[in-house]
């Protein structure tokens, strides 16, 4: 082989390597939110990290969705109101920079309502749940479906909440209701019409594969 041919092969190889690196960089650095078409996400909301938001979800201004220790996947038809905080944060005893910490994905199902001022760190939330104002969910909770966490209730246990459970009162009393809370379709439709009149929206991404969390 002549040096000329060697150089050409080397150049082609290096170009290919560069393009491969660029592609992988793009895949790894999804630093902006993936908002499905049909979702209404106000610009004033704070979305940090790898967050995927499904269709027909409404995120009010001043809501905060922060994916620190892993990605957050939010399903369809959810209603996230003002000052709600959905955060996938590192557990308290682990420093952010330590090795060997695998990022865990936080999954949120469909038709959930996060009322004003609530904070949710729960890693798995099912469908049709209502987290009322100023409620506080710990990281080790798993909500199934139809659960209602009452206003100002701080629930930080390590358990799976059975279906249709209502947690209410200052002592976090529980009871089971016979029917699940209705999905807020009317409210969602209204908001999807009205919010764009008064707020700027974040850009949606046309995702070919609709991201729906695996139902368990």
């Amino acid at each position: 082989m002549t040096p000329f041919m060697l150089r050409r092969i080397r150049n082609r190889l290096s170009k290919k390597l560069k393009s491969i690196n660029k592609m992988s960089d793009k895949q790894n650095a999804q630093k902006s939110a993936k908002i499905a078409a049909g979702a209404v996400v106000c610009v004033e909301s704070e979305i940090r990290g790898e967050v995927t938001i499904g269709a027909r979800t409404v995120v009010h201004p001043k809501a905060r969705i922060i994916a620190e220790a892993g990605p957050i996947v939010i399903g369809e038809g959810n209603l996230i109101e003002e000052q709600a905080l959905i955060i996938n944060s590192y557990p308290e005893n682990i420093a952010p920079d330590s090795e060997g910490v695998e990022p865990k994905t936080m999954t949120i199902g469909i038709n959930n309502v996060f009322e004003v001022g609530c904070m949710s760190q729960a890693l798995k939330i099912g469908d049709n749940n209502v987290i009322e104002s100023k409620a506080d969910l710990g990281r080790n909770m798993i909500l199934t479906s139809g659960c209602i966490i009452g206003a100002c209730c701080q629930v930080n246990t390590c358990e799976v909440i059975p279906e249709n459970t209502v947690i209410f009162g200052s002592g976090c009393q529980r009871r089971v209701q016979t029917e699940r809370p209705q999905p807020q379709t009317l409210q969602l439709d209204f908001l999807m019409k009205i919010l764009p009149n008064y707020h700027h929206m974040k850009k949606t991404v046309k995702t070919t594969s609709a991201v729906t969390p695996a139902k368990n």
Partner: protein, 445 residues
């Protein structure tokens, strides 16, 4: 205001049967005795009944008939909150044409706090918004009513016998009065309980409540005695092995709020009508007049670092008021709580009257009071801010408390008009002295 922010910072001493120290927002002022009264120095009387959610007023007789419950409002059996009526649209067949369905409104009760609904216990949705809900009947009502009648008759008979005996022993000029014993008998079975407290000097018309019963025909009411059973229903076999369904078990409180049924399962908890509350009227025990609200309101306290305390005094009446502050002397029997010495301004403070229109009148000339800037910090319409110096006496961990006396003049504008020879004599000002205690908070090193 003391009632909203810091209720126990400023305490006033009330000279009643007991010496009570409490904040001004819980005290009353009797215009006729010109003294402070606390809730323990007044007598509370039931004025009227009302429902706390629909605010419907009810006369006492009607309330007694309805067992002190509101007819329209319900309580959640699960969390004792007020239930609200919600409507849904359900398709229902039209009465004319059974094949077509139209949307009809169906109403159900729901609790906003614990999300209990009337459908949880199996109560069907009603077609009317109010008045369709019934409490389930107590199966023992008849027996209970019969027992009550029997015992009322018994109590009456006992009372008559006792009075006859007492009358035979007493001298003839004594009226046929309620003896102490008969009051207890009457109270035992729930008759005539309105006359529990004897008013001094009031004529005894105590038999009025019972005269109806006497007028009725004295038929004998026979009751069957309760029967004791030998055999008791045995427990189900799996009573000890069946796993407990915890959400289904009712709490004691939920159970006892329904004394008729006391259900053990949550699926039998029916809503009850809401209990009525009473409005009470307060009456001064000494002069038997109804009381009025307090008049002076010392309010917010700011502690600055130089141990000089700024106090605000507001004048609620419309006339000029003169206030003098006097420190407590050594050995003052009322001065038991103070832990610091206080130097109060020696001069008299003058407060302008409350003038509602002064806020809006920009051209009003400010009244010239010539305040000493060392004493008076600011003056705004009927408020004045003045300084007192506090010297903590002990280096302790508790709160710093000072006490002093306020002396002010008070004109009773609502006094009854006495016929007098002079026309339009101005109302006399009387000087009142109150003992005040201020809690200033903990000592900072």
């Amino acid at each position: 205001m003391a009632s909203l922010l810091q209720p126990d910072r400023v305490l006033y001493l009330v000279h009643g049967e007991k010496k009570i120290r409490s904040s001004l927002s819980t005290l009353y002022f009797c215009r006729y005795c010109s003294e402070l009264r606390s809730l323990e120095c007044v007598s509370h009387e039931v004025d009227s009944h009302y429902c706390p959610s629909c605010l419907e007023n009810m006369p006492s007789a009607e309330a007694k008939l309805k067992k002190n419950r509101c007819a329209n409002c319900f309580d959640c059996p699960c969390c004792m909150h007020t239930l609200s009526t919600r409507a849904t649209n359900i398709p229902a067949p039209l009465p004319d044409d059974p094949s077509k369905t139209a949307m009809k409104k169906a109403y159900y009760l729901a609790c906003g706090f614990c999300r209990w609904t009337s459908r949880d216990v199996g109560m069907a949705d009603k077609s009317v918004a109010s008045g369709g809900w019934q409490e389930p009947d107590n199966p023992h009502t008849q027996r209970i009513n019969k027992l009550i009648e029997y015992y009322q008759q018994l109590a009456q008979r006992e009372k008559l016998e006792r009075d006859r005996k007492k009358l035979a022993r007493r001298r003839p000029y004594m009226p046929l009065a309620f003896s102490q014993h008969t009051i207890h008998v009457v109270e035992k079975y729930g008759l005539g309980t309105r006359l529990q407290r004897q008013r001094p000097g009031a004529p005894i018309t105590s038999l009025a409540g019972l005269s109806l019963k006497e007028g009725e025909d004295q038929k004998e009411i026979n009751i069957e005695p309760a029967q004791a059973l030998d055999e008791v229903e045995p427990l189900p076999e799996d009573y000890y092995t069946r796993p407990i369904n915890l959400p289904e078990v009712t709490s004691l409180r939920q159970r006892l709020l329904q004394p008729d049924f006391q259900p053990a399962g949550a699926s039998q908890l029916h809503p009850k009508h809401k209990h009525l509350l009473i409005k009470r009227s307060l009456r001064c025990r000494k002069c038997e007049h109804n009381l009025s609200k307090p008049e002076f309101n010392p309010t917010s306290i700011n502690i600055s670092s130089e141990c000089q305390v700024l106090l605000t005094l507001t004048n609620p009446v419309e006339s000029i008021t003169h206030v003098t502050l006097v420190g407590c002397e050594e050995g003052d029997p009322e001065d038991i709580n103070s832990t610091a010495k206080v130097m109060v301004p020696t001069k008299e403070l003058v407060l302008a009257g409350k003038d509602a229109a002064a806020d809006y009148d920009e051209l009003a000339e400010p009244q010239d009071f010539q305040d000493d800037p060392d004493v008076v910090a600011f003056r705004k319409s009927n408020k004045i801010g003045f300084f007192i110096k506090v010297v903590p006496q002990r280096e302790e961990d508790g709160d710093v408390t000072v006490s002093f006396k306020i002396r002010h003049d008070f004109r009773n504008l609502a006094a009854p008009i006495r016929p007098s020879e002079e026309d339009d004599a101005p109302t006399e000002a009387i000087w009142l002295t109150h003992h005040v205690e201020l809690s200033l908070g903990p000592l900072v090193a």
